[in-house]
Structures are given as C-alpha cells and as structure tokens.
C-alpha cells in the first residue's frame, strides 16, 4: 500500500457520492467554460490584419441614419485612404426564413475588391460579379450551409428596406474572419429604392495601421458642421459598438459565472465536510498511530483535489469536445459563428477547479486539526 492508494481508496469509499461529486464539478466546470467562451465570443470580435486597416464611417447621429452618397468624392481624397466603398446593411430574410441569419451588404463591387484583401475567390469570377448588377458575391460558409452553387438565385425579403432582392450567385469568397456574408451591387438597391442618393456607411481601407487614427480624425473633420456629420472608427471599434447594444454582456455572464462557481464551492465543501465528518474517528485513529496534522491535511487535500480535478477533466474536456464537434452555426441559427474553447479558458476552468479542491479541503482539515485524538475517538462512540 502507498499513500496514493490509501487516498484513492478513501476517496472512492462511497462510490455514489464520489461519482455525484465528480459529475457536479464536471457539469459546473463545463458550464463555466461555456459561459466564459460565450463571453469571449460576444465581447472580443475576431481580428485579422486586414481588419486593422479598415475604417467604417457612419452617421454621427446614429447608425440608422443614412449618409449622402456625394460624400464619396470627399472621402476618397483624404490622405491615407487607399480604397473606399459604400457599405449598406440590407438585413433581409433569406427564402422563407423569419430571421436574418446572415448579413447582406450593398457595395460598389469594383471598389470593394480592394477592401477585402484577405478574402480569396473560392468559386466563380469576381469580374462576372462586377459586370452583372443583379448578381451577388457570397461567403463559402453560406454556400455550404444552404447547398448553393454558382448560378443559383438568392431571394431576400427586406426587413429594413421595403424592397426584396433576387440575386444570382456569380462569385464565392472564403478566408475572411466571417465567410457568411452576401455582397451585392449598391446600384441595384439604389434603383429599387428610387435613387435616394444615400448610403448606410462608408467602408475604407487605410494605407497602414500607423495612419488609421489620422485618417479617422480627417474624415470626422471633413464633415464637421455639415448636414450629415460622421463618426469614423476602426472596424474593431465598430463591432464593439454593436456588442454594446446587447447590454453589459460581460457583467451578466460574469455574474452567472460567479453564481456557478459559488454553487460549486457549496457543493464540494458540503461533500467534503460530510465525507470527513463520517471518518472523524478514523482520522483520530490515524493521529493516534502517529500521523501528523500536516499529513492528515495532505490526505484530505489530495482527496478533495483529486475529485475536483477529475470533475474538471471531464467537464472541461467534455465542453471542449462538445463545442468543437457540434455545428454551432446551425444550432444558433447563425448568431454565433465561432465558439472556440481556448486554452486560456480551459486553464481558467482548471484553476477554478483546483482552487475549489483546496478551498473545500480547508474546513474539514481545520476541524480535524482542532480535534484531539481523544475527542475524535469519542465522536462516533
């Protein structure tokens, strides 16, 4: 017999309780990892090198307010701007869907080519897309999800604009951080809307990340005191603005996570307390045989830590496997594109479980340390 086998036998002496403890730690750790991953996905948008060079210009009043199309001639002349395109969110429902499960944007195809430099043409021809104003340029994920092919039609029912779109797929892209979007000719939207002379936003690419802040300042200044003042911001800042519309997600998820951890502490502390209380006399016997307080604390800690670690392994590993294997886009109807359980999140879950193992051992260990051999021997007599 070794100390390790002695600890293992003690930990598993009540198999049902040990199993329930491991399962409760596993479920809680899995839930914690899921919440932390959700928080990350909602609050940290995907970044790419190209995204750091892109700037979005919107109406200073609100994103819902359009901008005059005539601003283009001013924007494209601003030093540091190397490409610019109108970028108008259409927000239509595909086929018979009742929600917008992926975004559609009206762009100037010729100008837009210089903006999504990280994207590759996976199928069809971008030149064909440029030539046909009823065509669209579709992300590979959306093509795959709906089983689409080049030449297929995509019909969108407008939810923001009072018009519907009937677009022919002529090009497919992939390799961007979000390969779901659909891009079509702004001219088509203009025609359908009676040429209002407006765009939703301007999408710019700047010469380098070093000049991005200067360009933003110049764009803002260019339309200062005009009838359509603008607010320019990096793509990342723009995405973060969207996220803020969801409310204080970070605090909400943080609060739920705290409740999960707190409940987990109560469960494991209670379990360990029960397990040790039942063995008070045995521990007193061990003391009588010559085991010291530190050794008994080691036994209790190892037992508690072992159960928590096993639960964490099952919970965190299971969570990682689950979120890696399932089709999240389908499950969330396109709301979440990625749900990556990162090593950092798994380490956080493991740290919580480790702390849990230690914290739940402290109470019972102190109780054992405070109790004399004689008192301990009397406990269950």
């Amino acid at each position: 017999m070794t100390f390790a086998s002695f600890i293992a036998k003690n930990a598993l002496r009540n198999k049902r309780r040990a199993l329930l403890t491991v399962v409760s730690v596993a479920v809680s750790c899995g839930l914690l990892v899921t919440l932390l991953t959700l928080q990350r996905e909602l609050t940290v948008p995907p970044e790419s090198e190209a995204a750091s060079l892109r700037v979005i210009v919107r109406n200073k009043v609100s994103l819902a307010q359009p901008l005059p199309a005539k601003q283009l001639s001013v924007v494209e002349k601003i030093p540091g701007v190397v490409a610019v395109s109108p970028f108008t969110y259409f927000g239509g429902n595909f086929r018979e869907e009742t929600v917008t499960s992926f975004a559609q944007f009206a762009v100037d195809p010729a100008r837009f080519r210089d903006l999504i430099v990280e994207g590759k043409i996976a199928d069809g021809s971008y030149d064909d897309f440029i030539k046909d104003r009823t065509s669209c340029f579709v992300g590979a994920d959306t093509m795959k999800r709906y089983g689409l092919k080049i030449g297929d039609k995509m019909r969108f029912t407008g939810t923001i604009y009072p018009v519907d779109l009937d677009l022919k797929i002529l090009a497919v892209f992939q390799g961007t951080v979000d390969d779901r979007g659909v891009f079509f000719h702004h001219k088509l939207l203009d025609e359908l809307m009676g040429n209002p002379g407006t765009v939703g936003t301007w999408y710019l690419r700047v010469a380098s990340a070093d000049v991005a802040n200067d360009v933003i300042a110049r764009v803002d200044k260019a339309f200062e005191n005009s009838s359509a003042e603008v607010r320019a911001e990096t793509e990342r800042a723009f995405q973060m603005g969207f996220i803020s519309m969801l409310g204080n997600v970070k605090m909400l998820i943080g609060s739920i996570s705290a409740v999960v951890v707190f409940t987990l502490v109560l469960v494991t502390v209670s379990t360990m307390s029960m397990a040790i209380r039942e063995r008070f006399r045995e521990l007193a016997v061990l003391k009588a045989l010559g085991f010291k307080r530190t050794e008994l604390f080691g036994f209790i800690l190892a037992e508690s830590f072992g159960l928590a670690a096993l639960g964490a392994l099952v919970g965190i590993g299971g969570s990682w496997a689950f979120w890696t294997l399932i089709d999240l886009q389908k499950l969330t109807n396109g709301f979440l594109l990625y749900f990556e359980v990162t090593p950092r999140i798994m380490a956080t879950g493991a740290t919580v479980a480790a702390l849990l193992g230690i914290v739940s051992a402290i109470g019972p260990a102190l109780a054992v340390a405070r109790t004399s051999v004689v008192e301990g021997l009397k406990t269950l007599d």
Binding site: M1, F3, E282, V285, L289, G290, K292
Partner: protein, 226 residues
C-alpha cells in the same frame, strides 16, 4: 536488582472544564509500571482509568504532574514530536477495533509502517509477521467487514505490534467481543508480555479480563484505590 520501570507517573492530575464546572479526572496519581508487566486499570465509569491510559499513551495531556515513558516526559513533547513518539513507541488497541473499512487486514496493519523509512517489501514482511503472531496470516487480504469481531480485534493487535513498540495500550479491548473471542484476544496480549517482553496497559470493567493481567490497579474518583 528490580527491573527499570518503563512508565513513571508522578503526581499526575487532569482537570476537565465542563461549562462552569471543573471536573477532576485524575487527582495527583503516581505509579510505576515495569517493562513486561500486564497492568490492568479497573474502576467505575468516570474514575479516570481511560484518562490515565490516554496520558500514558500520549494522546492526552495532563493538567499537572509528569508521565515518563522510557525516560521521556511525554507532556513536554510538542504535537509533532508526540506523533512520532507514538508511532515508534506505542501500539493502540481500541474497544471498537477502529480498523479502516476500505483497507484489507494487511493494509490496516501496514498503516503505521507508512510513516517509517521501510521499503514496501520490508513493510510486507513485518505485516506478515504481525499477522502470524495473532493467528491471521491467511486473512491478510480480507476486509474488516469480512471478518468476525474477534478476528478484527486480532488485526488491531497486529497493527499495534507491527512497529515493535515497547508499550501496548488497550482500552476495553474485549468490550465488543463474545467470551471465546475475548479469551483469545486476552491470551494474545498476555503472551506478548510473557514471550515478547512487551508492556501492556489495559483498561477494563470486566474482572474476568482483569485476571489475565499481572497486576490490577483500581481507580476511584481519579485516585488509585489499591
């Protein structure tokens, strides 16, 4: 020349505090126990016999006075030193056996040896010897719940013996046993004093059990009466 006493108790008192009342468990007790003796402590409940046994065994501390075992004043040892001392010098036999239910008989006997520097093989050898001494060499792989009360108590005696301590303390070791098993256990304890030179101090209420001892001491109200 008289043999050296292994236990020397002088002017030993133990006072417990129960609420606002002081309860005198031992009142200026003095006694000597010679190596190889089988001393039986008798007396009514609350007479202080178990308290005296606990102090001699180093699991309780006196309020005043001294208890020296093999020349060491155990009251002066700190918690950690006392734990080491118990491991090396005292074997315990309890009324309710107090074996660890998830361990086999051999593993229970091996427990005190985990604190020594012995190798696994050396430990197993000593465990086997101890089990042979109590007549349970073939029951080492049995768990306590697969054994009778008498067998469990013999395993407990093997556990008390396995570190080869000079002193064995037994607190009502036959209290939970039938007459036959009690006789077997007491015979083993007596043979340990006669053949292995161990010193046994046993607490009992039972005069028949006391008859196995070489000397009986009666305690009344915390004092040795005879």
């Amino acid at each position: 020349m008289a043999a050296e006493p292994i236990v020397v108790v002088r002017d030993l008192s133990k006072i417990y505090r129960q609420g606002d009342i002081n309860v005198v468990a031992l009142d200026h007790v003095s006694l000597d126990i010679t190596a190889g003796e089988f001393v039986v402590l008798m007396g009514p409940s609350g007479s202080g016999k178990s308290t005296l046994l606990h102090i001699i065994a180093g699991i309780d501390r006196p309020t005043s006075g001294s208890a020296k075992v093999q020349g060491i004043d155990i009251a002066q040892l700190d918690e950690s030193q006392l734990a080491d001392w118990r491991n090396q010098n005292v074997g315990f036999v309890f009324q309710s056996f107090n074996l660890i239910p998830v361990l086999t008989a051999a593993e229970n006997v091996e427990l005190p040896l985990l604190l020594t520097d012995l190798s696994g093989r050396e430990r197993r050898k000593q465990v086997q010897t101890a089990l042979e001494l109590v007549g349970l060499a073939d029951r080492g792989h049995h768990r306590p719940d697969q054994m009778s009360g008498g067998q469990q108590q013999r395993v407990a005696i093997a556990r008390a013996l396995v570190t080869d301590p000079a002193l064995i303390v037994a607190d009502e070791p036959t209290g939970n046993l039938d007459a036959k098993s009690a006789g077997d256990v007491l015979a083993i304890l007596r043979s340990l004093t006669l053949t292995a030179g161990k010193t046994v101090v046993m607490v009992t209420h039972d005069p028949k059990s006391a008859a196995y001892g070489s000397r009986s001491l009666h305690l009344e109200k915390g004092e040795i009466a005879a």
